[in-house]
């Protein structure tokens, strides 16, 4: 119940509201706002469903790509075939090459190995990093399947792999003529990703290296996806 102090004002307002045009236009405005307000949850929901739909079927694994566009991490590791010799970044080839992380304990590496031998025959320069492996097992592995690598270095502790952002074996890095990592392939190399991902990238990098210049960033971005 209202108090009686404001009687004259209220009477004036009552008159104003009683005017049908004012009353109905007020009502129409607030009704419209209300209806629109009630549509908002539906709109948000449709957006959510669209987002979920787009995500269906996409792989949800985390992909590490921190090594890209940076030089190969500094290392001082023994040569696998002669552990008395210590290799450093200077010993890496100065033309584009593939750096493959492998271990004799890794089943997928065994599957990948024949393809690496094929690549060696095609003249691709492969550098191997033997990751957390027993030297006897590693050398035996190379003796059995062949050695596709121009050289293999031994990462016993796994520190070098950690610096590369490795999550398992096998993984391969494409390094350009200046020692910058340009692509990171997780998992095995096979004919499929050789054609799709590696060959285009290597072509761009080889071009640049033969001309004695650094690769063009936009070309790299396009070819080395």
């Amino acid at each position: 119940m209202t108090t009686s102090n404001n009687e004259p004002d209220r009477k004036a307002q009552q008159e104003a509201v009683k005017d049908p045009k004012v009353a109905s236009s007020n009502k129409v405005k607030s009704k419209k706002k209300l209806k629109i307000g009630f549509l908002i949850p539906l709109v948000i929901f449709i957006g959510l469903v669209a987002m979920l739909y787009m995500r269906l079927g996409k792989p949800t694994d985390i992909v590490t790509n921190t090594a890209l566009e940076r030089p190969v991490p500094a290392f001082e590791l023994p040569l696998l075939s002669d552990t008395s010799r210590i290799m450093t970044n200077d010993n890496l080839p100065d033309k584009p090459f593939l750096m493959n992380i492998w271990g004799s304990w890794c089943p997928t590496c065994i599957i990948e190995h024949p393809f690496l031998m094929k690549l060696e025959e095609r003249g691709v320069n492969l550098v191997g990093v033997n990751y957390k492996d027993d030297i006897g097992d590693a050398l035996g592995y190379l003796n059995r399947g062949g050695d596709p690598f121009s050289m293999s270095i031994q990462d016993l502790s796994g520190q070098f792999a950690l610096d590369l952002g490795l999550t398992g074996a096998p993984e391969t890095f494409i390094v350009d003529g200046d020692g910058i990592i340009r692509q990171h392939i997780i998992g095995e190399i096979n004919e499929a990703n050789w054609q799709d991902r590696i060959t285009p990238c290597l072509m761009v990098l080889n071009d640049a290296s033969n001309n004695g210049v650094s690769p063009d960033p936009s070309q790299v971005a396009e070819a080395c996806k």
Binding site: G37, F38, P41, L42, F45, R55, L56
Partner: protein
């Protein structure tokens, strides 16, 4: 095996019955044909019978080792103990979906039974909506994820064995409880959709749906608590909540359900916030379906998720889109008519319930954002970022504290307008809480003032307000005891549930701050002291289970020279699946858990093994608090003001005398008078 074939046919029958249950009563409602509307309850019961048959048949398939079923072959083995064979029924995607649908049929049958007092047109509409959901999910079950697919013409001689992590008591109870809650959220949804459909502008449907919301919420509370407890003793690293997407998928409907319960309280009592309540009912069920989608579609990474299958994901997404989209559309088209100018002052229970709803909704948003962020980041190219416990804890904990502050005062304030001298009382209570909290924190853990101190202060705030309210409510009674006895069950339910919340929150604070963990290498007769307890390894022995081999260690635990207990942690190797498992040994009591897990031998030839030892204070309070919350829900549910009686009660006689037809109408008109 013939019985499993029967199960498949029963499933098909249930699908057809669901279609009938949607179509026939709808026609009955549209044409005002009472006989066709009456078909709804009968169809609901028939569908229940069909689903139970189907589910029992699948269970029989497991029990009798029917390896002609692909599903049985994937999840069972002849060496599996019989109780795990039965619970393996819900150990995989298809079977757990069948459990989902069976529980849904159960809820429908219960709704059908308990809604006999409702007007027929409402009852029919509710059952139609329930059947609509069932129809779509049964279609998905039958056509994309049937547990009755056969391996024929091959017939494997044996199965692949249930995953050893699942071979545990937790599997027997956690999924059924959880699903009862998850699925139960469909009932309030159906009620409010039916009310909108009928074009009702009143709030009577809130009284009908409140006990159902309470039941679903209670089951969900128990289900989540069981999951947390199971993960704690099973996974071996002492964690009891990881904010994993699957865990969040169950927490979000729970949060929305909590907001719904409180909003229902306002709408039922005061007839206001109707639109809010409907929104929350839709929201709770939507989150339930969203959870089902997230867990089974492979869009998020989680250890708990079922096998990722984008096709299944698409089907669930379509179902989610239709049900929730339809609900929100109905809400947009008809919901706005329900808004009413609410008259309440700033200091009133309505205000506090608004604050409660806002805080809970923001908490739900935090969990939703964190869980969906990988998807959002993917859609808008925001870069890969992990969202985990540090994020959730940072935002969720302060929100909980805020909520408890509101809960303390809000649950004891009067409706519409409270003109008591609350500021004075509030100051006294606030100061007492802070002092009590400071004293206890000082003696337990001076270094963790913030976490434990604030939690205790907030808890005392709630408890002291509760005491004030008890005194207030019993002040007119002849004696205190008499007064307490006269209080309604729903009031006791409310206070019990709130006490449960406090207990759980205190448990969380103490465990997170004061747990101690040590990883040590121990051989026979070695000993280590952790947090005042001495752990001595007596010996190792070999143990054989029906489908595993294990090394068992005997560890005596003593405190100040007194022997407390002997624990037997095991390191198991499951034969068929060739998986190693650690079976932790726990000595639990109300004040602390002592937990020992056995790892691997330190070296090939060493007789020392790696042991993990925990001392966790007050961890049982977390799950105890959850159980008390669920008990509170049960008490509230049993309050007989929710009973829709057909015989005349004194109230009905009085109503009749005042010229109203039923008590419901008296309620309705009284509510309408309350709103101006």
């Amino acid at each position: 095996m013939l019985i499993t074939e029967l199960g498949y046919f029963a499933l098909l029958a249930a699908f057809i019955l669901a279609i009938l249950q949607v179509v026939l009563p709808t026609i009955g409602v549209m044409r005002d044909h009472v006989a066709w509307q009456r078909l709804a309850p009968s169809l609901a019961w028939a569908q229940f019978a069909a689903m139970i048959t189907s589910f029992a048949a699948l269970m029989a398939g497991f029990y009798y080792n029917d390896f002609s079923l692909v599903y049985v072959t994937q999840h069972s083995n002849t060496l599996l103990p019989w109780y795990y064979k039965l619970s393996a029924t819900w150990g995989g995607h298809e079977g757990s979906l069948l459990l989902w649908m069976t529980i849904m049929a159960t809820w429908c049958a219960l709704v059908s039974y308990f809604s006999r007092g409702l007007p027929l047109s409402m009852r029919a509409r509710v059952l139609v909506i329930l059947a609509g959901v069932q129809m779509m999910m049964l279609a998905m079950l039958i056509f994309t994820s049937s547990p009755f697919d056969r391996t024929l013409p091959n017939l494997p001689v044996d199965g692949a064995d249930l995953n050893p992590v699942l071979q545990d008591f937790g599997l027997i109870i956690h999924p059924p409880m959880l699903y009862m809650g998850y699925v139960g959220m469909v009932v309030p949804f159906a009620f409010c959709m039916a009310a909108l459909w009928e074009g009702r502008l009143d709030a009577v449907w809130t009284r009908w749906s409140r006990p159902w919301a309470l039941a679903a919420w209670g089951f969900l509370t128990v289900g989540i608590a069981l999951g947390s407890w199971w993960a704690y003793y099973e996974l071996g690293w002492g964690g009891w909540w990881f904010w994993d997407p699957v865990e969040n998928a169950s927490l979000m409907p729970w949060l929305a359900g909590t907001a719904l319960l409180h909003s229902l309280a306002v709408t039922e009592k005061r007839g206001v916030f109707k639109a809010w309540t409907i929104m929350l009912a839709i929201f709770a069920f939507a989150l339930s379906l969203l959870g089902t989608f997230l867990v089974r579609s492979g869009v998020i990474t989680s250890v708990h998720s079922f096998a990722a299958d984008p096709t299944r994901g698409l089907v669930i997404l379509v179902i989610l889109g239709i049900i929730v989209g339809g609900g929100l559309l109905m809400f947009a088209v008809r919901g706005w008519r329900l808004t009413v100018e609410s008259q309440y002052r700033l200091i009133s229970r309505e205000s506090f319930l608004v604050i409660n709803n806002v805080i809970i909704l923001i908490s739900t948003l935090v969990v939703l954002l964190g869980t969906l962020y990988p998807i959002i980041a993917d859609a808008f190219n925001l870069g890969q970022v992990s969202v985990g416990p540090p994020y959730f804890n940072a935002l969720f904990v302060p929100l909980t504290w805020l909520l408890l502050v509101a809960m303390g005062m809000g649950s004891n304030i009067r409706w519409k307008q409270d003109s008591r001298p609350l500021l004075g009382a509030g100051m006294v209570i606030a100061v007492s809480s802070l002092v009590l909290a400071a004293i206890i924190t000082y003696f337990t853990s001076p270094s963790a003032m913030l976490n434990i101190g604030v939690t205790l202060a907030v808890s005392f705030w709630v408890l002291l307000w509760m005491v004030v309210d008890f005194k207030d409510k019993t002040k007119n009674a002849p004696s205190r005891l008499n007064g307490l006895r006269q209080l309604r069950l729903s009031y006791w339910g409310q206070q019990t549930a709130h006490i449960g919340v406090i207990i759980a929150v205190i448990g969380v604070a103490f465990t997170t701050t004061l747990s101690i963990e040590r990883d040590v290498a121990l051989g026979p007769n070695d000993s280590v002291n952790v947090q005042g307890y001495d752990f001595t390894v007596k010996d190792f022995s070999e143990v054989k289970g029906s489908n595993f081999d294990a090394t068992q260690a005997e560890v005596t635990v003593s405190k100040d020279g007194q022997e407390v207990t002997t624990l037997y942690p095991e390191k198991r190797n499951y034969i068929i699946s060739m998986m190693p498992m650690t079976e932790a040994a726990i000595d639990a009591n109300l004040m602390r858990d002592v937990y020992v897990a056995l790892g691997e031998p330190i070296a090939e030839d060493s007789n020392e093994w790696a042991f993990r030892i925990y001392v966790k204070p007050l961890i049982r309070w977390i799950w105890l608090g959850a159980l008390i919350m669920a008990f509170g829900a049960l008490l509230s549910m049993l309050d007989n003001r929710y009973r829709i009686k057909k015989t005349k009660t004194p109230a009905q006689i009085a109503a009749k005398k005042s010229g109203f037809a039923t008590v419901a109408d008296l309620d309705t008109s009284a509510t309408k008078i309350g709103e101006r």
